[in-house]
Amino acid sequence: MVLQCLTWIPHLWDQLLYSVTIHKNGFVRPLPEEIIIDILSRLPADCVLECRVVCRKWLALTSTPYFVEMHCKRAAPFHFVQSVYDSVIKNELDLFIIFDGVKKDKMIERTRAGYMHLKRPNMPLLYGSCNKLLLFRPRFDGLMYFVCNAVTREQITLTSPVDPGMLCGFFFHLPMKEYRELAVRKEGTGFRYYMYSLVGKLGRRIAAFSYPPTSFVTPTIVNGALHWTVEHKSENEDIPPCTDAVRMFNMDNEDFRSMPHPGKECHSQSIYEKMCLLEMKRKLSFCSIYARLIDIWVLEDYENWYWNIVKEVDGAAVKMSDDLHCFHIVTDYAKTFVSLTKI
């Protein structure tokens, strides 16, 4: 019992260690690291960047995977909308950031894409997001891609590591703690993938496959893998088999796999064009549009590739559903392209 009473001692010792840093406002006792981490993880990303300049210790504290994970969990989610239809008329790109959980009148922040120097017809289109980074691709084929930090509005330009080539994935490689891009280019009768690391600026060849991944949207990242639907080859209208409709890339071991899409076999080019993968409650989901009907499937069992149909929506009345994490609707590409991405 006496021993248990010694529980105060470590506390007292800690407190003694925080003893006397004399400050003009009196005593400022240094905070324990875990409290500093907790406080900093509650700050918006740009303020965390500012706080990294405070001292080396704070830089170290905010650079650990633990901090990063905690910060991501706490960060207020926001939606990002771009209006391309308007911009065709006004010749500029309107971007809106919609913040969740703030007062209505402050919810929408309109941000002119002043930081994008590409003008019509090469206006950038929102292509996807990775953490709080937004990825834009040129409206027409080209090599220039942009990554913008939605919080700080900084941007960098990405070029495809292979020329001619197409960027088909942008992701954060956790073990190496670096951003990587995946590019694809036509080689012979197939398509060859290239991996490019943003930090080392190093590119390398990886697997080849007979069909290219879809170029409209970024891959959906769940379970440590990137997922695309495949596209038919443009020159010979060769429709990919339904059993190979979903292409997967494992970020860790860099393995590619092909899996069938859910639902009945379609063998139709127009259906292929309107398929898309989404993320729904951290599960892979699949959306396909037959005529005006939208089917949404969820991959309930990843290992056994078991899909469950969760929604059938009439396309005419399509409304955003709250539980969708990432949704791209392409109604009529020439007229309206709405990308709504939760980042």
Partner: protein
């Protein structure tokens, strides 16, 4: 809330145990109901292991801060308080200057009161959110140990991307 029937109060009165918390900084004493004080995991552990005497000395926490902690515990020990009431009360407790908040967060950490730690940390984060790093240094009494070149490098490196984001 305050209109609890008289007989009920009397009925529970004999069982009510109190604890005395004493700030070791200025020797101020606070008599609190045991169930209020037990929201502190540190105090609960002491009571559970029979270490608590009549007076529990609380080191390094001033009477001013201890009063705030007890106010928080009282509010949260009241079963009839609605979530909204508690939110308002919490906001009132943490509506203090940054130095008081730092003392309060240390107290909450020391006494192991999770909820108080959470609201105080959030309030500190809100208070330093828009401050330049020089002010943050001053508030937390942190020395700048970067060389000017290093400091510039840290700024440049994190300009566009939040490196380390998973």
């Amino acid at each position: 809330m305050a209109s609890a029937p008289e007989n009920e109060k009397n009925a529970s009165a004999p069982e009510k145990k109190t604890l005395t918390l004493k700030s070791m900084i200025n020797n101020e004493e606070f008599v609190v109901d045991e169930h209020v004080a037990l929201q502190s995991v540190t105090i609960k552990n002491m009571v559970d292991s029979d270490c608590a005497g009549d007076v529990i000395p609380v080191p390094t926490i001033s009477g001013e801060i201890l009063a705030l902690v007890i106010e928080y515990c009282k509010n949260h020990a009241n079963p009839s308080a609605s979530e909204d009431d508690l939110k308002k009360a919490d906001a009132g407790i943490v509506a203090k200057d940054i130095y008081t908040l730092i003392d309060l967060v240390l107290a909450a950490n020391f006494l192991d009161i999770k909820g108080l730690l959470e609201v105080t940390s959030q309030k500190i984060a809100d208070s330093i959110k828009d401050l330049p790093h020089q002010d943050v240094r001053e508030i937390f009494g942190v020395e700048n140990d970067y060389t000017p070149e290093e400091e510039a490098a840290v700024r440049a490196e994190h300009d566009w991307a939040f490196e380390g984001f998973p």
